[in-house]
């Protein structure tokens, strides 16, 4: 029986090659999209899963708010660790870490440096209770319990000391950040890639807490300062009762934090399962993006299924005869449905094979949209089940309606071709129309999405950020460098003819990082505390980036002078820049500073965010960046290599070199660009599949109307009149689809645009353009078919009828 079904399925495919190709290609694209996205989802959601006690591990995070502004931070004030240990019950284990990404590492014996290592962290023994590692050497209990010790992963050991045994490596010395000397006391296996905490070097936290200068740097006693590097991980004994833990945290706030008027701090308990989607040393994934991708993949598959239903029901009359015969031969309705399902299954299985090819192709072609470490294991149980499940689902979804409709025919009428007027068929026509509308609604929605997102990105690129990003390069300099090499480098760069200005600073003018603090204004006895963003830079900092100085002078490399921006000027209560000059403020509660100038507002972060009140101050000890503005008409690559050469002479251990500032700024919108790329791709697929569907459907309906067209021609209708006649019904469908597509896309895009502080108004013209494009597509597809029929000689057609 099944063999008979499959034979006829196969012969039907061969007989209708166009229809089969449309079905298989469409479903294959849909299945491939779903398959890739499914793998992305299981990859991203699979992070940290193999940590024992996955459900019991949490990170405490902080949100500081002032009025409407919220400043979330994955770190906590450093003293928080001790406070939680002492005052919160039900904590099985607790580990503080201080993340030191990009730490400089060198050997103690020889002046050999390994450049910056990305995953260096300060932490304590308890860390390995929460995140167990496989120990190859050293004592897990004691390895980190005294200052100046380090636990290394196997790969770090090999990197620093070459292929030596564990015993040889233990006891070796390393220098971190040019100043911290540590001894290797433990060696662990490398952390697996599907973990977020992929540190390679673990220095004992007491190394920091035992040094006075380091204590100041990490704000060891300060409750007001939140640094995202200072994090707190806990393993809870009752993870189901998070609210009781939150109550305890609130008590800590009441006890230790005396928030100023209008300011408030909250602590949150973030489960380990969220870590991958917030901030972590490995890459982070965006839940919103993943959800969007999933929806897109499902839509594409749905469009493909709709195609199937459309074409199959359109073909119903052709198939009806066979169904009728089979019924008179004794087939039950159930057997007929089974036959139809097995036919669809054959198509779905062929589509699956093609889908696997497409997947392989897309994984290579769209490598940058897929997480770098992700690999698709086609033979994993999960994937096999998913694919089989998907094939069954696609088969059921696609086949159930045509199967019900076709097998419901009265056999007598079906055989005699008397189906044209019966009820079921009109219903089929109705469904078909609606599915076409739905397909085009989705396609038009995709087109609008791509157009609007591109429009916003263009807007962002053209929006002035308030500084000149061209001809600026920057590089890292060693942290807490006491040798004065920074100044030496600055001087030697200034001597280069193509250099316009050189500035040392704590951060570049616009970056992803954000340093916020408060500044005090003393009015007699009363102290007013104001929230600010702070940048540390020398006198040429604003010149290098061409930020206009509205009034006053630059900082004369004097730590009592500060520059402020217009926003902060308004916060201080001044309407005119000149009035703010001479304002006396207190930084860090100890340093008296005076406003010497006001700069025009500029965006120091991406255009997602409003400009914050900003203070530029001078603190040369913490300079870690060197910024260079080039003369106009300089050859950029040549200039970069000369700058790198100067840098290398002074800092042989630095290997990153100079980077272009404008590239960094462009990178702010990387995720948007990615979204745009993915959406464009999805749009092409959606249009392709819908187009194929319309192609097949119109081929069929026009073929049915061949006689009518010929008669009209004989009666004197012109080609264009017939074209209008045929296209008209499709035009109406496109128009309905357009109307249906507009509202949801409008709402969705409005939501997306809202996250930008600087956004384009909703471009109505692009909506119309999208509608017009769909319209055009439809005219071309239907028109091509119509023309072929119109051009046939009517006498030929009518003779054969």
């Amino acid at each position: 029986m099944l063999r008979n079904y499959l034979i006829i399925a196969w012969r039907n495919l061969l007989r209708n090659k166009l229809r089969a190709a449309i079905h298989i290609l469409g479903l294959a694209i849909g299945i491939a999209a779903c398959f890739v996205i499914y793998n992305m989802l299981s990859y991203e959601y699979g992070f940290n899963r193999d940590v024992p006690g996955y459900d019991k591990i949490f990170r405490i995070t902080t949100v500081t708010s002032h009025g409407e502004d919220r400043w979330p931070n994955v770190g906590v004030p450093f003293p928080m660790g001790d406070a939680v240990k002492d005052e919160v019950g039900g904590v099985e284990s607790l580990a503080r870490i201080f993340d030191n990404a990009n730490a400089m590492v060198g050997l103690a014996e020889r002046p050999t440096a390994f450049g910056r290592q990305r995953h260096v962290v300060y932490t304590e023994d308890k860390y390995f209770d929460i995140f167990p590692a496989k120990w190859l050497g050293g004592n897990p209990e004691k390895a980190l319990n005294r200052p100046n010790t380090v636990v290394l992963t196997q790969s770090s050991v090999n990197k620093y000391f070459g292929e030596i045994s564990v015993q040889e490596a233990l006891g070796k010395e390393l220098i971190y950040n040019d100043s911290i000397s540590v001894q290797v006391t433990g060696i662990i296996e490398d952390i697996k890639e599907n973990n977020d905490l992929i540190y390679t070097d673990y220095i004992s936290l007491s190394t920091l807490t035992s040094s006075t200068s380091a204590r100041k740097f990490i704000n060891a006693e300060n409750w007001d300062n939140v640094n995202s590097a200072s994090q707190l991980y806990v393993q809870l004994s009752h993870p189901q009762q998070l609210s009781s833990y939150e109550t305890s945290l609130d008590q800590i706030i009441d006890k230790y934090l005396n928030n100023e008027e209008g300011w408030s701090t909250e602590f949150f308990i973030e489960p380990l399962s969220d870590l991958h989607f917030t901030v972590n040393p490995n890459h982070t994934a965006n839940k919103f993006t993943l959800m969007g991708l999933s929806i897109m993949a499902v839509f594409i598959l749905m469009i493909a299924c709709m195609n199937f239903i459309n074409l199959e029901t359109a073909q119903a009359i052709v198939r009806a005869k066979e169904i009728g015969i089979r019924k008179t031969l004794g087939s039950s309705r159930f057997q007929l449905m089974l036959q139809f399902f097995s036919e669809t299954l054959v198509i779905a299985l062929l589509a699956l094979m093609l889908a696997l090819l497409l997947t392989e192709f897309s994984v290579h072609y769209f490598a940058e949209m897929i997480p770098a470490d992700m690999e698709i294991n086609y033979l994993s149980t999960g994937n096999i089940l998913f694919l089989l499940g998907l094939v069954v689902l696609v088969t059921l979804l696609s086949a159930i309606y045509p199967a019900l409709m076709l097998t419901g025919y009265n056999p007598v009428k079906a055989i005699k071709n008397q189906l044209k007027d019966i009820h079921q068929n009109r219903w089929g026509y109705f469904v078909r129309k609606n599915l076409t509308v739905l397909q085009f609604t989705l396609s038009i929605g995709f087109i609008i999405g791509v157009l609007v997102i591109s429009h916003q990105l263009k807007y962002l690129a053209n929006e002035s950020m308030g500084f000149n990003k061209e001809l600026v390069l920057y590089a890292d300099t060693p942290f807490l460098d006491e040798s004065g090499r920074n100044d030496q480098l600055k001087e030697s760069l200034e001597r280069l003819s193509f250099v316009k200005s050189v500035s040392l600073s704590g951060d570049i003018l616009a970056s992803r990082s954000l340093f916020t603090t408060t500044i005090e204004r003393h009015k007699g006895e009363e102290i007013e505390e104001l929230g600010i963003q702070a940048k540390n830079g020398d006198s040429l900092f604003v010149d290098t980036y061409e930020v206009p100085l509205l009034v006053g002078k630059r900082i004369e490399n004097d730590s009592t002078e500060i520059l402020i921006n217009e926003t902060f000027m308004k916060d201080l209560g001044y309407d005119f820049p000149a009035d703010a000059i001479g304002e006396q403020l207190v930084l860090y509660g100890e340093r008296n500073v005076e406003v010497v100038g006001v700069v025009k507002d500029f965006n120091s972060r991406s255009l997602y965010e409003q400009i914050r009140p900003l203070v530029i101050f001078y603190e040369p000890e913490y300079f870690t960046k060197i910024n260079v503005k080039l003369q106009a008409n300089t050859n950029l690559q040549e200039a970069k290599s000369l700058l790198d050469k100067e840098m290398k002479e002074l800092y042989p251990e630095e290997d990153s070199g100079f980077r272009f500032f404008d590239e960094l700024v462009a990178n702010f919108y990387q995720s948007e660009q990615k979204l745009q790329e993915v959406l464009s791709f999805a749009t092409v697929l959606a249009i392709l599949i819908s187009g194929m569907g319309l192609f097949g459907l119109s081929a069929f309906t026009i073929a049915q109307r061949t006689k009518e067209i010929s008669i009209r021609k004989v009666l004197g209708a012109s080609a264009s009149q017939i074209l209008v006649l045929i296209s008209r019904e499709y035009m109406v469908l496109i128009l309905i689809a357009f109307v249906l597509a507009v509202v949801p896309t409008w709402l969705l895009l409005e939501e997306w645009l809202k996250q930008f502080a600087y956004r384009t108004p909703m471009p109505i013209s692009l909506y119309l353009l999208a509608g017009f494009l769909a319209f055009l597509l439809c005219v071309v597809i239907v028109g091509l078919h119509s023309l072929r029929t119109i051009n046939r000689n009517p006498s030929e057609v009518l003779k054969s009828e």
Partner: protein, 226 residues
Amino acid sequence: MIKLSNIDKYVDSKFQRVFILKGIDLEIEQGEFVTLMGPSGAGKSTLLNIIGLLDDDYVGDYEFEGEMVNKMKEKQRHALHKKEFGNIFQAYHLIDELTVYENIETPLLYRSVSSSERKSIVAELLDRFNMVAKKDLFPAQLSGGQQQLVGIARAIAGKPRVLLADEPTGNLHSNQAKQIMEVFAELNREGTTIIQATHAEENAAYGNRLLEIVDGKIEEDKILIK
């Protein structure tokens, strides 16, 4: 075997009820070869469809072997149709996508006949109708007469007791038509009850009973003696 009492079949249009069959009383015994004759639209095909259980939209009683067909459930009727009836059509209605062999095999599949038995039945039929060499051809590769032979082979593959033929020779040349009718006569001699609808006078001669149908009524019921 078959007993129809007061069968009416009509369609209701807006203003009037149009009768296709009216007051049909008919009894057919096993082994009869009945010919229904009459002009187009007289109701021959409709009557055949009602007898063959393909049409259940009528008023009146239909008894098959003493069982009331019009009181049966869909499932029973379907089972009865499958067991007792074979259909032959004017336009042959072979399945275009299947070969001669597969077409003949199809009704056996629906009757859950085992694979080896299917093979022997189909082989026997191919042999009987001299079509062994053509078993792998598709319907489109056969002449009309050959297609109708396949149609007959298919109809009798399930060993039905009643064969219903609607204008079986309508699309055939006279020579081919003769061949088909001889096959019918032979099947009838072997015991199969045959009911055919036809326009052609000469076809009636093969049967032993002739029903003249005009305007949905049986005008004449003749026994033919050879």
